[in-house]
Structures are given as C-alpha cells and as structure tokens.
Subunit: 354 residues, 2 copies
C-alpha cells in the first residue's frame, strides 16, 4: 500500500493525502477524517525510507558504543540504560540504531552517521573527563545528549547526570559521622567522569571531617565482580584494614561481600558497606530491608529520560542546552549499623533539575 494507491482509492491527490496524514492545516477536517480512517482501515504505513529521503530526517537515534580491548562499554549498566531509552524510542516512533565501534574509528562513525542522514541525534554514553566526542559533535552539528558530564569540557552542552559528587560525599560523610575512619573506596575507572566525581566527593567529605584520605584504600578499575573481590581482599589483608567500604556499583559490591565473607567478618557488623545502586533489573538490591545500604538512582529511568530529552532537542531544533541533574536516593540496608543516629544534614532527594 503506497501513498499513491491510497490517494487513488480516495479520489484525492497524493499531496492532500500526505498533508492530511501529517496534520497540515490546509486540509478540510472532513477530508482529513476520511483519509485517516481509510489509511487505518487499509493499514497504510508510509515507507520510512522514502520519507527519509524526501525529508532528510531519519526518525532514528544513534547510540555509539566504543569498544576497546580494555574498556568495555557493554556492561550490565549499559544494557539497562539501553532498555530504558529503547522504551522511549518505541513509544515515540523513533528507531534505535546501535553502533558498536572500535575506539579508533569513533570519529568516523559519528561523521558517517550524520553525513549519511542515518540518525537525527545521538546519545553519548560513558563520557570521560576529557571527552573529545563533545567537541566533535558540536562541530558536525548533530544533536546529542550526554549521559553524564565531562569535567574537562567547558562549553555548554546537553546532559543528564546523577549528582555523583554529592552522592559519594553524603555516603562518605555518613560513614565518617558514624565514627568510621578507614573507608575503602572501590571505584570505577577514574578517567571516566562519573568515577572521578565520585572520588572527589569521597575526598571532599574526608576534608570536611578532617580525616586524611589513605590512597592505599582507594581502588579503581572496571566494575566487575572480580575487581570488587580482589580489591576488598587486598585491603582486608593489609596491616590497617578498612572498617567500611564504599563501592561504586552492585557487581563489585557482590565481589567485595564475597571477600568479606572469606575473611570471616560479619557483613554489616564487623565491616560496613555503602554502595551505589543503579537499580539494575538483574542485580536488584533485594530483601527488606535491602541487603546493601545504598545511594540509589535507576539507570533505566535515566535511559528513558535521556531519550526523551534527546527527542525534545531534535524536535525543537534549538541548540539551547538542556541539563538535568538527579540526586541519588539514600536507602538504608543491612550492610551498615546505626547510621541514622549520625543524622545527616537535610538533602533534597527528589530528581530535580539543578
């Protein structure tokens, strides 16, 4: 069923039918109704490739996933994010084009996406502190939204980010207020912006409490289960082991807990733990109260919202940046003792624009 056929059937021109279907004003209401009804009855759907060619718009959004031998973007967090974004795209009639690309071909990948009119915009995931993709995208003029931020980038751009600094500052402060003095940090790779900010928050809380940071307690790498296990194990077997852990994600937290168990320590008693919980669908912080005391923010929701913002950016065509900063929510679990008594200052836990 093509537009042409539909038009012939209705005894109208393609122009009119096209306009009726696309909501243009110069079509009488009665005609529009007739057209829409008939189109629906015949299950007419415009050929998107023809539309794309004619309009130059693709109704598609790209996610470019860099792969390196070392730094895999394809982690459980990523897939939850994608699922969230995918929901939005599906609802809004956009297509999600996924590009798995070697880091060395990244620039090329973005360029060809825009040159070829394959996508109308892209989501940038896993930004580093120095993120070359931002300048690149600004230069080629492709609408984009960054999930996260890039500290080293001082131009304005659109982003959605969890307030990582604040989350880790709060968590650290909570532990320090409760008298903990040796807090092991099991963090993501600190050239990635989110991990850097978390580290800063951790440092900052120490500073406010006049406690010196022991860098022997700071581990940072890809957030695998094994990394969590290994770093916890090393810290625990040292002369001055930590009495609490702050862990950047559920996976390493599971590993750290394993190490704790192997040392015969009572989890939540002998040693405390606060984690950052992305609320992954396959790695839920389960139980009631939940196992882990956590700073929580759903990465799936973030994906959903990132997609929304990007579409808004694309549709409005304006280059005015949209920025949204979310606050993680504190969830009390069984991995810490009495934290509440060491009351923390008021915080706004809602998801708010900054």
């Amino acid at each position: 069923m093509t537009l042409r056929e539909l038009a012939d059937l209705l005894g109208l021109s393609q122009t009119t039918v096209s306009r009726a279907l696309n909501g243009y004003p110069e079509v009488s209401e009665s005609t529009r109704k007739r057209v829409v009804a008939r189109a629906k009855a015949l299950n007419y759907r415009p050929n998107p490739n023809a539309t794309r060619l004619a309009t130059g718009r693709s109704q598609a959004v790209g996610h470019v996933i860099p792969i390196t031998s070392k730094n895999e973007m394809v982690n459980p967090i990523f897939s939850d994010f994608l699922a969230g974004a995918g929901e939005t795209y599906a609802r809004e009639g956009y297509q999600l084009v996924l590009n798995v690309v070697r880091e060395s071909h990244m620039e090329d990948a973005y360029r060809s996406l825009v040159e070829q009119g394959t996508v109308d915009g892209v989501v940038v995931q896993g930004p580093r502190m120095e993120e070359p993709r931002i300048a690149l995208l600004q230069q080629i003029g492709l609408p984009f939204l960054v999930h996260g931020r890039a500290t080293g980038e001082d131009t304005e751009y659109s982003w959605l980010d969890v307030d990582n600094h604040c989350a880790f500052e709060r968590a650290t402060a909570l532990l320090l207020s409760a008298g903990q003095r040796r807090i092991g940090l099991i963090n993501g790779q600190e050239h990635l912006d989110f991990a850097f900010r978390r580290r800063c928050g951790y440092n900052s809380a120490h500073r406010s409490h006049s406690v010196e940071v022991d860098t022997a307690l700071c581990y940072s790498d890809e957030m695998t289960e094994y990394f969590g296990y290994e770093s916890a194990r090393r810290m625990l077997q040292s002369d001055q082991p930590p009495t609490a852990f702050l862990v950047s994600s559920m996976l390493p937290a599971i590993g750290a807990r394993r190490a704790v168990g192997e040392f015969g320590l009572q989890f939540g008693k002998d040693i405390w733990m606060i984690i950052f919980d992305d609320n992954l669908s396959y790695l839920k912080n389960s139980g009631s109260p939940p196992t882990f005391t956590a700073m929580k923010s759903s990465v799936r929701d973030a994906g959903r919202r990132c997609a929304e913002i990007l579409l808004q950016l694309i549709r409005s065509g304006s280059s005015k940046p949209i920025q949204e900063r979310w606050q993680a929510q504190l969830v009390m679990g069984t991995s810490t003792g009495d934290l509440v008594s060491a009351k923390e200052p008021d915080h706004d836990h809602a998801n708010l624009t900054r």
Copy 2:
C-alpha cells in the same frame, strides 16, 4: 557530494559511476579505477536512504527485544550477545536496529520492520519452547536466525544453539559419577527453550545413573543473583539438603555461593558446584584455576557468529536453513572436588555443526 555531482565531475553518467562503484562488469577497468579513485578522494558516500529506497534493501538488521513486567530480556547475557553481533555488523557495513517492544506488540513490531523495509533480517533471541515468532517470520518471509531453538517447532529454520542438553547431561553425570546423589538445579525459566533443554539433560543423566530426580531440588526462574541465593538458601535449610549445585548462569551462581557461605559450608568441599558460564565480559569466571567448574561457551562469540550467519542468509537469498550447534567446553575450577577420576566418556569439545 551526490552521485550526480561526482558523475558530472568525472564527465560520466550516473549510471556508469554507480556501476563502477558497485562492481558491475559493464564498466571498463580503467574507468572503474578512475571513478573509485575520485570517489575516495572526494570522500563520496552514497546516501543510504536513497539506496534503500531504490533497492528496497536496508543494509540493516533488527534485534527485537521483548519486554514484559516479568521477563526481562535485557540481562547481562543479552548485552554481551549484542556486543558480539554488533562487531560483525560494523565490520560488514550493516546497521543494527534495536527494537524494545512490549510483548503484546511484538507481532506488529516484526510486521512493520519488514513491511517498511527497515531491516533485511532479524535475530530472534530467547526463544521459548513454543515460539510463535518463528511461524510469524516464516509467514512474512523475513530472513531470520534464532539464537537457540524452539522444541515445539517442527518446521525447519535457521538457528545457532549451544547444546544445552548435552552440557547439562555431562555436568550432571560428572557429579553423579563422583558419588553425588542430591544435586540442586538452579535453572532459568523453563518455558524458555534453553532452560527446558538443560532440565532435560539433568533428568536424563539421573535416569542413566538410576538416580531419582527430587523435584524439591529443582528451582527455575529468572537468572538473577537473588534467585540463586534464595533457591540455594531454601534447599540448604531443608531436611535433606543437596550436596552439589548445578547452576544455569554466573549471576545466580554468585548468589548460590553467597548462600553456601552463610551456611558456613566450605565451597568446593562441603558442597560442589558446576555452572554454565557464558563467559560474560563483566562476570568472568576468574582465577586460575577458575573459581567455578563450568560448562563454558561464550555468548559473545555466539552473537558474532549469529550475525554472520544471518548476513549470509540475507545475502544468499536462499531459504535453505543454516543450523549450528555448539558444544560447551568443560572447565575445571575450584568449586568441585576430584571430578576427573570419575572419568567422563569422550566428548567432542570443539564448536561443530551438528
């Protein structure tokens, strides 16, 4: 830079340039060289939307991800699979279109993918025992490849699958041969085909060893960490606890290990465990020897290969099904005692077509 411009610049017709670029024979070699060189110099790239419209082919492949409130396809296994497939697509110049779709809209999603010429083929993931998608795709005539199989489907179709039956039969037999008599099975949802086959393998080994299956030892659900923990916990606290576990995936295995620890049992000594290991990039079976004794098969490799087969299917245009069955590889780890002495019969461990 359009074809037209390039042709004008070269003093040739669009026809000739197009043919030169696409390797048609009716162009002289000298002309072809000139055209190709010039195209490269000017960085000419055909507009894919125009190509798609003209040819009806999209140079894109779809992955449709069903979401339900209960059954999330978006798990770590899925994302590794996608990463593998994505590599192949990138290499072959195909685009990966991801569709996150509510189960109820699935049929529609597939239909519109093909009707609209959005993709040239699709990969079907997570097939159930009764998998309606297969008949649907056969009916609408869209090339497809199933990752896994559907027991209830008796028509011929293309698939790539790990030999789940064999893997679990072997693993179970190993445990039984070593004298284990109560083997807890922590399986995926058994309406999904892979889990069903694994269960069959488990049953079958029991039968050959004349050991009765105790259904109180068989758990089956979404393969989360918590599910692994909870089912192991329940089994361990029963009157007749298992002495070994067979676990369907790394995530529940981690949970099961946690439960084992909580019961004060020595992992690999008081209780044995064999897992199925998809070799996930973020959940590696690390250590040497590795932590878990495992039946191992990389899901990322599977993704890579699935994509290759699908492209082959698309390009050949033939409807002759391609089927490939892989054998999981047995990896000895620290989660079992002496298994080797209980020698298993010879098996071909290579990845082979059936």
